[in-house]
Structures are given as C-alpha cells and as structure tokens.
C-alpha cells in the first residue's frame, strides 16, 4: 500500500506527462506481480465492488473526527472529493502497517459479507494505521472513482517501458473482460498469446477531428468516405462458436442486444467486425435517443425490441478466419468485409456502411451538408492504405463533423464542480423564453476557459437569489451560446426536448437577456432536426 500511495503521490505531484509515465514505469519494474495486476486493473477502470456505502463512510469519518455530520457535509463540496475529505478530517493515525495493496483489497472485499458493525470496525481500524495519502487511496478503493490523471493509454505506455513489450500488443492484451481474479500478471502480460480469451476485442482505431476542409489531404482518390453514424461504436466477435458484442467503452453488451443471437450462425467462425451499433427501422437509422433507451437496460422488453431494433452498421473487418487483418490496407479489409456481408440474409442485423461516391472535395462537402437528413453526424474519411491503428493516431482517419446546432440561452442555476473544478461554479442550467417566463431546457458543464469559470464564479457568489442545497438560483443576467449535436423530444424534461452533448460555445457578453432564444425557437429546431 505504501508503494502504491507513493506512486499516487508521484503522479499527483507533477503536471508533466513524461514524469507521470516514468513514475508508473518504475512502479511496474519493482512492485510484486499481484500488486501490478491490481494497479493495471484499477487504472483501466476495473475496481473491487463497493463494499460500504458512502453514507456510512461519511458518518464514520465525522464520528471519528469528532465533528457533526452536517459540518462534514458542508466541507465535502469545498474539497470536492469524498475520499480526500475523509482523509483530511480524520485525526492522525496511532498505528502503522506494512501491508500490500493486494492485501488491503482482499480485506476490503471480505467486507462484502460482513455485517455493518464489522465493516465499521474494519474501516476505522484501517484509517487508524494509514498516513493521509494512503487513507485517500484506500477511500478511493472503497468508493470506486479512481481518476488520478493517468489515462489507460499512458498506463499502457508505462507498462511497455517497464516490460520492453510493444505498446500496441499490450493494449490488445489489456482489452476484454479479464479481472485480477480471472488471470495473473504473467498470463495477462507475459505469457505467449495463444491463451487469449475468445471474447477479447481489439483496441479501437480512433479518428481525429478535421477542423478545415479536406483540401490538404491530397488526392480524393486516396480516400474512402462514408457517413459518420451517430450510434455506439462497437465490435461484434464470433469465435469458438459463440458471439460477443463490445462497446468502445469496453463494456461487454452481448446480452443487451439479443438481435445478434444468431451471429455465430450467419458469420464464419473467427470474425471480428468493427462498426456502429444503431437503432434502425429497416431502411434508416432512428434518432440516437431510440438507442439510448436500449443502452440503460440489461434485459430488453419485447416492445422495445420492436420499437428500437438494433443493427451493426459495419465498416471494418479486423479478423477473418481467425487471422488478424489489422496490418492490411483499409481498402483490402473493406473489400473483404463486403464479400463477407454480401452472403448475409437481408434481415440480418448486420449491414455494410455504404461508401459515399464523390468526384472531388467540394462534391463531398455538398453531401456532408446533407448529413442530418441521413441521420449522420458528418462524414468519415479513411485513407485507403491505412492499417487499423491501436488508438488515436493522426493522419489516416478523419472525422469531418457537421457544425453543431446552436442557441442563445440564459443562465438560471449554478452548481459547484468536483475534483479539479471544486470551489468553482462550473455546472449550469440554461433557459429559453416562454413569454415572460424562463423555461430550463439543458445543463452544460464544459466549453469555458478556466479564467471564464473564475469570472463567472465570482459573479455567482454575488448574484445568488436563492439556494436549493448545492444549487444556486442566480440573477438571469448572462447569455451563453449553447452548442449541441442533436435534439429529440423528451417527456421527462420541462421544455419537452433533450439535447445531445450540450456545451457552452461562447459567453455572449454582447447579448442582452431579452434577446435570448425562445421555447418556440427550440420547438422549431425539434421539428426540423428531431
């Protein structure tokens, strides 16, 4: 635990990426194997099940600190991190320990079956032998959220440095549904790869955004274009007679999409398809919110299956006949994909994303302008010679998105952020006019600079009209341009609409509140783009 806490401190104490990676690589060289395995698991979002509720943790911490619970609760939003707040209020430890990360995680997991008083005793005992940083790390293990400024990509790079293995190969090894219980450091990282799990997906190849026109990309004939679909990126895998559906977030979603139940019959064994999971009405995609209804559900009711059937709009073939094709040129993979899918029955839930034919870049630009009517977000450009990269590599794949929809709205509520944004007001609710009333229609958290967040925070403090817990109602005085990717009807929202990926595009200092958009404007947008 001390080694892991020291790693946490080293990562936390620098803003330089190279120094973070070096600290992590040093850890991967020295730490015992089971600790390394758990560290990889934690930094790739695999954490032990939460054994204690945060409510109980707050109560225990306040009691041990000798402060009333309300005072703890007042302190928490100011610190912005629960694990840290607990670590800061507790009195100094009276004991020491020398147990490893894995030992503590095992202890923590044993709490799963313990009763409340045994849990409390174990947690208080742990706190009493840990230094503040260890406590914070321990609390993060207890509460779940383990974000420490190390992305999975940086972790993979550090692991590559420490083991001398290829980064892309390691990225592949770390994919899938392994847990520290189902594997060992040796099996996961070092063993010859023949034992790879049947379910393991490939690291997704990601595109960069194209800010300008594609004129700088060279001859249009070097490129294949297709719609940029607005669904969930996913891989459908058929191996060893069974199938798996993975999301880009590396969530195994096989059970959520029963549409693919016969994938192992209609696709040859040893196939991996990359594409977009879309709700599809037989001829065209449905709006994203139809798919959204499906995502949250582990079991899907029949009505929803008929209302929002899902398909894979496939655009790449990563594995054919058990062979990894990722090194082949995209045009070749694409041709093999078409051959494979040509044999599928018409009602199969797998379709090939059709290439867009275009003569020159301006022709493609014209087609792109029409993307919304095809329920697409824009156009994808992929170089015909490009291999399937692991991760985001600039140059071969581009997404050329439509400009977002925008609306000018009035800020009416503000709330403080968490973590790095603690103590700053960063979470806002925006409204449009309905006659003389302001109707809230969206929240937004991102898009302003740190300086603007500081400025608006000072303003919010002086212009609070009313408080509802952590939420402050503010004087309706500031107009912001809100950008979003899509709009859909929603009975759950007062305004009747839900926006896709709303953010603050600009602070409209120049715009008086009276000139913000209206609910009618919003409804018109819904009619046109919903």
């Amino acid at each position: 635990m001390k080694r892991f806490a020291a790693l946490f401190t080293a990562i936390d104490q620098t803003t330089k990426t190279n120094a973070k990676v070096a600290a992590l690589a040093a850890y991967f060289r020295d730490a015992p194997d089971d600790d390394k395995l758990w560290t990889i698991a934690l930094f790739s979002g695999r954490r032990p099940r939460r054994a204690v509720t945060t409510t109980r943790l707050r109560e225990w911490a306040a009691e041990r600190a000798g402060i009333p619970l309300w005072l703890f609760e007042e302190s928490y939003p100011i610190v912005g991190d629960l694990a840290e707040t607990i670590a800061l209020v507790l009195p100094a430890p009276t004991a020491t320990h020398d147990d490893s990360l894995t030992t503590w995680i095992m202890r923590l997991r044993a709490l799963d079956t313990a009763d409340d008083s045994a849990r409390m005793a174990a947690v208080l005992d742990a706190w009493d032998q840990m230094l503040p940083t260890e406590r914070m790390v321990f609390n993060k293990l207890l509460t779940g959220g383990f974000r420490v400024g190390i992305s999975r990509k940086l972790m993979t790079r550090a692991l590559a440095q420490a083991t001398g293995r290829d980064e892309a190969e390691l990225a592949h090894r770390l994919m899938g549904d392994w847990t520290p219980d189902s594997t060992s450091f040796h099996d996961l990282i070092e063993s010859p790869d023949s034992t790879a799990q049947a379910s393991r997906p490939y690291p997704f190849c990601l595109a960069h955004g194209l800010d300008d026109t594609p004129d700088t990309l060279g001859p249009p004939t070097d490129w294949l274009a297709e719609w940029k679909w607005d669904g969930i990126r996913g891989q459908v895998i058929v191996r060893q007679g069974t199938h798996f559906v993975w999301s880009r977030g590396e969530e195994l979603m096989t059970d959520r999409f029963p549409e693919f139940a016969d994938a192992a019959e209609i696709l040859p064994d040893g196939t991996v398809l990359d594409g977009e999971l879309l709700a599809f009405d037989g001829s065209a995609p449905l709006p994203f919110n139809a798919l959204q209804k499906r995502i949250g559900r582990k079991t899907v009711p029949k009505t929803l299956l008929t209302e929002a059937p899902v398909i894979l709009m496939a655009y790449d073939l990563l594995e054919d006949n058990g062979q990894d094709l990722r090194h082949l040129p995209f045009a070749t993979r694409r041709a093999r994909l078409d051959t494979m899918l040509a044999n599928l029955p018409a009602e199969a839930p797998i379709r090939a994303s059709q290439p867009l034919t275009f003569t020159d870049w301006s022709d493609l630009a014209n087609q792109r302008a029409d993307a919304r009517t095809h329920r697409a977000e824009g156009v994808m450009l992929k170089h015909k010679d490009s291999p399937y990269h692991a991760g985001r590599k600039k140059g071969d794949w581009w997404k050329w998105k439509l400009d977002p929809l925008t609306l000018d709205a009035v800020m009416i509520y503000a709330q403080q952020g968490h973590g790095r944004r603690a103590n700053l007001f960063t979470d806002f609710t925006f409204a449009v006019w309905d006659g003389n009333d302001l109707v809230p229609f969206t929240k937004a958290y991102s898009g302003l600079t740190d300086a603007e967040f500081r400025q608006i925070t000072a303003w919010v403090r002086k212009n609070t009209l009313q408080r509802f817990g952590p939420v402050r109602q503010v004087r309706p005085e500031h107009v912001f341009e809100i950008a979003f990717e899509g709009i859909a009807p929603s009975p759950r929202h007062k305004s009747g609409v839900a926006l896709r990926f709303p953010r603050m595009k600009r602070w409209r200092h120049d715009k008086p509140v009276a000139e913000a958009n209206t609910l009618q404007d919003l409804r018109d947008m819904l009619a046109q783009f919903g």
Partner: protein
C-alpha cells in the same frame, strides 16, 4: 457595545476610532500591513512599531503613530493595547477595554509559532472578533519543520537534476516565511523585485533572512544553476519566469491542503504554509479567550458560526471587506 460594525469598518464609539477600516476615516488602528487591512486615505494611523516600516513602504507618507506590543494607551474612554497575532512580523490583535468590558479584534492570526513573527498571545476577553479563512475541519496544518523538509527536498532534487525551482508566494509575509525555511547551502536563492522590496524593509528592521539575489533584466539564468526563485504567484506563469527553464513549479499557501485547488493552479507541488490559523488553531484561540460572544468576520463565516453556536458560543457573522488568504492575484492575503 464596545464595538459597532459599520459600513466604514469596525468602530469603537468610546474612543471614536476604527479598526482596519475599508473607507477613509479620521483615526484608524491597524492590525497589520496587508492591503485588505491597511488601506490608504485615513487621516491618522496607529500600528505597532514592527508593522510600521512595511506600512510606510506600502502607503507612503502617512500620519503614523506607533505603539509597542503590550503598551497600554488611552484613546477617549477606551483603553487600547496591541498584542502579537503571529500572522506576519508586527501583526497585532487589538485589545480594547471600555468600562470594564474587554473586546479583542484579532485581525488575521495564526496560533503556531514560526521563525519570523512574534508568537500569538492568547487574550482573555468578553467579546472576540475572529477571522475564519480556514474555518473548516479539513484544514489542519502540518508542522513547520515538516514543510521545510518537503521544500528543501524538492529543491535539492530539482537542483540535482539541473532543474530550477520556481516557488510562488505572496510578497509580504509568505515569501519571507518561505525564505526562513530554506537551506541556503542547496543552491542560490533568487527573488522577484516585489519580494526583494519587502525583504529589504524587513531586513532593515533587523529580521534575519538568508541571502537573496534579485532578478533583473540582465540576470542570466545559467549563472545560477539549481536556483530557487521566489516570486509572487502571478509572475509564475508570466514571460518573466520563462528565462528559468526547465523548471518545477511550487506554490505556498494554506489552500494547497486541497488537491483540487493545487491541480487547478497547475503547479507541480503545493506546500501547505499559511499565516492563518487552521481549524484546531481557531478553536483553541477562541476557547482560550473565555469569551461568550464571538464575531466572525471573513472566511467560511456561515459554517463556522453554526459550528461555534453548536459549541455553546453566542456567535454572529459580521460583514467586512477583509479577504484573508485568497488565490486571486488582486488580493493581498
């Protein structure tokens, strides 16, 4: 009432004077020289002899009378004395006695002793006016020796790797406190002009600080390998600091106790050093006054008042224009 809380500032009717007023008044008693307490424009000033040089440096030619710690003086019907507050050199709590009733205005204070300021002196009183800059149970300061060891280890490590150490600290008080903790054998110590000006004033009144070299337009960074450079926080991300590369950046403030705040400042390291009392210090100071009536001025006032009320005090929040230790560039701490 011995004191009234008016729109001009804290007012003593018996003596017809204000304490740390924020609007121009005839007679101002000043607890210490920070800008939110010692403002320009008053007709007459009274401060400790130890605070006077910094006030003259900041406010220029003012009508300033001085008083020693513990010396008692009668102003109108009020008996007045100044006592150490431990915040910065010369900082004072002001004790007032009117018809046998005793009140203390503590200004900004810190209960733990440091290596520069006269240590805080607890005072018995009936009414105590307190700040609450760090009035939350998450603020508990590490021992000064521990922070000194952290800073010196960071600096030595940087120096060994040929990296400069850029440390942000406010020019008056914090910078000198940091200087008092440094091990001058590690490498040279350079200062920003704003810091060096205050150093000169404080050295002039006899305070011992390690040798420093002021950075000028002619300063060549390569002449001072491994140096630690102390500058006001605002200078850290300016072109001024760019000559010192590569550098690790640090920031000294009580706010560095919070990880989120440190990360937002994008400093590599945060050192927890404050001229203000921590949670335990505030509570101890208030307890030791024996006062029943507590007036909370600046900081986490509402929360701290509620806490004091739950502890049996008769606590009130009084609005002031003091800012305490802030992270904003405009503020003076």
């Amino acid at each position: 009432m011995v004191l009234e809380f008016t729109p001009q500032g804290i007012y003593c009717p018996a003596g017809d004077f204000f304490i740390d007023p924020w609007r121009p008044v005839d007679r101002a008693l000043i607890t210490h020289g920070h800008a939110d307490h010692a403002r320009p424009g008053h007709q007459r000033y009274l401060a400790t002899d130890l605070a006077a040089p910094v006030m003259r440096h900041r406010l220029g030619d003012i009508a300033l009378e001085t008083i020693a710690y513990g010396e008692s003086r009668k102003i109108g019907d009020a008996r007045v004395s100044f006592h150490p507050a431990g915040h910065v050199p010369g900082s004072a709590q002001i004790r007032l006695e009117v018809s046998g009733e005793i009140w203390v205005v503590s200004g900004d204070y810190k209960t733990e002793a440091d290596r520069l300021s006269t240590p805080f002196e607890p005072l018995r009183c009936h009414g105590f006016v307190t700040e609450s800059t760090f009035g939350l149970p998450v603020f508990n300061w590490p021992r000064e020796n521990q922070v000194a060891a952290e800073i010196n280890a960071w600096w030595a490590d940087n120096a060994a790797q040929g990296v400069f150490s850029l440390l942000g600290a406010y020019a008056l008080g914090k910078a000198q406190r940091v200087l008092s903790l440094l091990d001058p054998d590690i490498a040279p110590i350079l200062t920003h002009g704003a810091v060096e000006n205050t150093n000169a004033v404080l050295r002039g009144q006899g305070l011992q600080l390690p040798d420093t070299i002021q950075v000028t337009p002619d300063t060549q960074a390569r002449d001072y390998p491994g140096a630690l450079i102390i500058a006001p926080p605002g200078a850290l991300n300016s072109t001024w600091a760019r000559r010192f590369r590569p550098a690790s950046t640090g920031f000294a403030s009580g706010w560095m106790r919070l990880r989120g705040v440190r990360r937002r400042r994008a400093a590599d390291r945060g050192f927890v050093i404050s001229g203000h009392a921590d949670w335990a210090g505030l509570n101890m100071a208030i307890r030791e006054t024996g006062a029943e009536n507590i007036y909370v001025t600046h900081g986490y006032t509402d929360i701290f008042k509620r806490w004091l009320t739950s502890q049996g005090y008769n606590a009130k929040v009084v609005p002031t224009e003091f800012t305490g230790e802030t992270l904003d560039e405009a503020a003076s701490e």
